[in-house]
Symmetry: C2
Amino acid sequence: MSWEDNVRKVVPYVPGEQPKIRNIIKLNTNECPYPPSPAVKERLGSLDYDDFRLYPDPSASNLVRAISDYYKVPEYSVFVGVGSDDVLAMAFLTFFNSGKPILFPDITYSFYDVWAELFRIPYRQVPLNDDFEIVKEDYYVENGGVIFPNPNAPTGIPQSLEMIEDVIRHNQDVVVIIDEAYIDFGNKSCLDLINKYDNLLVVQTFSKSRAMAGMRIGYAFGSSRLIKYLQDVKYSFNSYTMNIPSIELGTAALSDDAYFKDVCKRIVATRERVKESLKELGFEMFDSSSNFLFVRHREHSGKDIFDYLRENGIIVRRWDAPRIKEYLRISIGTDGQMDRMLEVLGQMLGR
Amino acid sequence: MSWEDNVRKVVPYVPGEQPKIRNIIKLNTNECPYPPSPAVKERLGSLDYDDFRLYPDPSASNLVRAISDYYKVPEYSVFVGVGSDDVLAMAFLTFFNSGKPILFPDITYSFYDVWAELFRIPYRQVPLNDDFEIVKEDYYVENGGVIFPNPNAPTGIPQSLEMIEDVIRHNQDVVVIIDEAYIDFGNKSCLDLINKYDNLLVVQTFSKSRAMAGMRIGYAFGSSRLIKYLQDVKYSFNSYTMNIPSIELGTAALSDDAYFKDVCKRIVATRERVKESLKELGFEMFDSSSNFLFVRHREHSGKDIFDYLRENGIIVRRWDAPRIKEYLRISIGTDGQMDRMLEVLGQMLGR
């Protein structure tokens, strides 16, 4: 027998590439085109390197308190992690242990099936309808848990609070996770529902709307019991997940609400403008509530457009997967970046 | 049925406390009493907050390359994580899946059984002998994997390279993990053995000898196949575990070898001096190869000394566990801190 026989063998998630070339236009991982708040810059300048020799606060209490204050929820309802991926990985490990299949859409964040495979959680990918919508009744069946993003990724399509509450109401014997990574770009959070349903976990992130993907800060809200179980697993995995800069700079980011709201507003305005321009170029798309557009062209293949953009220094995201291989997911950049993209597409399409 | 029935219920590891009071002498979590290298301070000052809006390099290649260069191992033999706890948690998840019990000492790092419980890995805690030594022959039995620290914690007792190689040679059908968190304080690493045994994982950390506990940087060495399996699990858990400051400041720390060696030398010198003074006060102890001493007093109980030190603003670590409840683990601080501790102990013991 070999040691390799007992290795947990998995096929990992492949993140969008992080090219090191400086002069490309990077519209492939839904990062924020604007810098973090100046409050982050200021706090960075005041960090004392001597503090780094001590362990960070294991409960990241400065950050937890700031999130608690900002969202007006008790501190015991807040969980933080190394990006929302870390929060979601811990949540899969903590809550999805029934042996029954968990449910999520067939077209959605492509990490869900990776976590399920990693932890050997059975799962069923529920097809979206032909309009790429989640059909709530599909989730009114016996299952081991439910997870989907709102708005969904990579479609950008939002769900209503009524729809989400219906799904939770029909699934009170399992944990329901609503992944709100893109909630700040025009949709309404279901956060308030944690007061009504103790089996609801709502997950958000600093990586998109707060322009801090490089700091790795995610967080979640839930009932005190739900969060306590998640904390127990977290403290059984790694006592100190959040390092000092992530705790301190995350706290600083939350102090500057005007900047945050302005960034979100600018991204939404750019998105709506670019949407119209893309339609004029022959693209079709869904009404996105996120910081990206999911588009396909009436005449040209997704791969051709992807390749053409890339040759011209513009990177977007495309999945070679059934149902969506003709689509491109385009992150919303600055107005200048989007104008350049529209110019390149105009060249390709002869307009 | 309730959602709570399918929660993974665990009893988490309890880290040494991180009190927020500034004027205590903190000798309870084996942190470095000296600041990180000035190279870390310099790199901190040159970080650009605007970079934080982008995701970090998922492979943390700057840091991996710096570790590879420093330790003269290929980059494909290096794994990095959010402290060595993150590295070890991922390793338990990746390698210990045989269904047979993994083996580790009864007195050792108290996170091992927590990870085993978290991932439902069967385990057997092998008693140290009466001199608190690991008996290598105890590990020459069928098992699902082996892990122990070198030097062992919290005893500080080192193992020889010959002993470690004997254990690996008898366990080539499982993964053997040597946890070298404290290796830089006087013992010899078994790193070279990764070239001979493809089932060996050697784990180290920036938290002790490199004075960067607050940055959360751990790393491991192993054969290309072993590291590839670990990477696959890591990328199935969280694409980006290392944030930008941890990658960049970790890289900077490695550039300043003179400072690193000086810090280790100073801590070892203080340890040896304090050891003699403690013996004069009636303490007995093992020869520690780490940045802490594991001591008990001939006449006074561990709890009494712990409480007395605490009342005088000095925090050390104690476990209320069989075999070691009379012991205290005292991290090596600055000479000034240790002199103050010796003064307080002198008062208590009337010397």
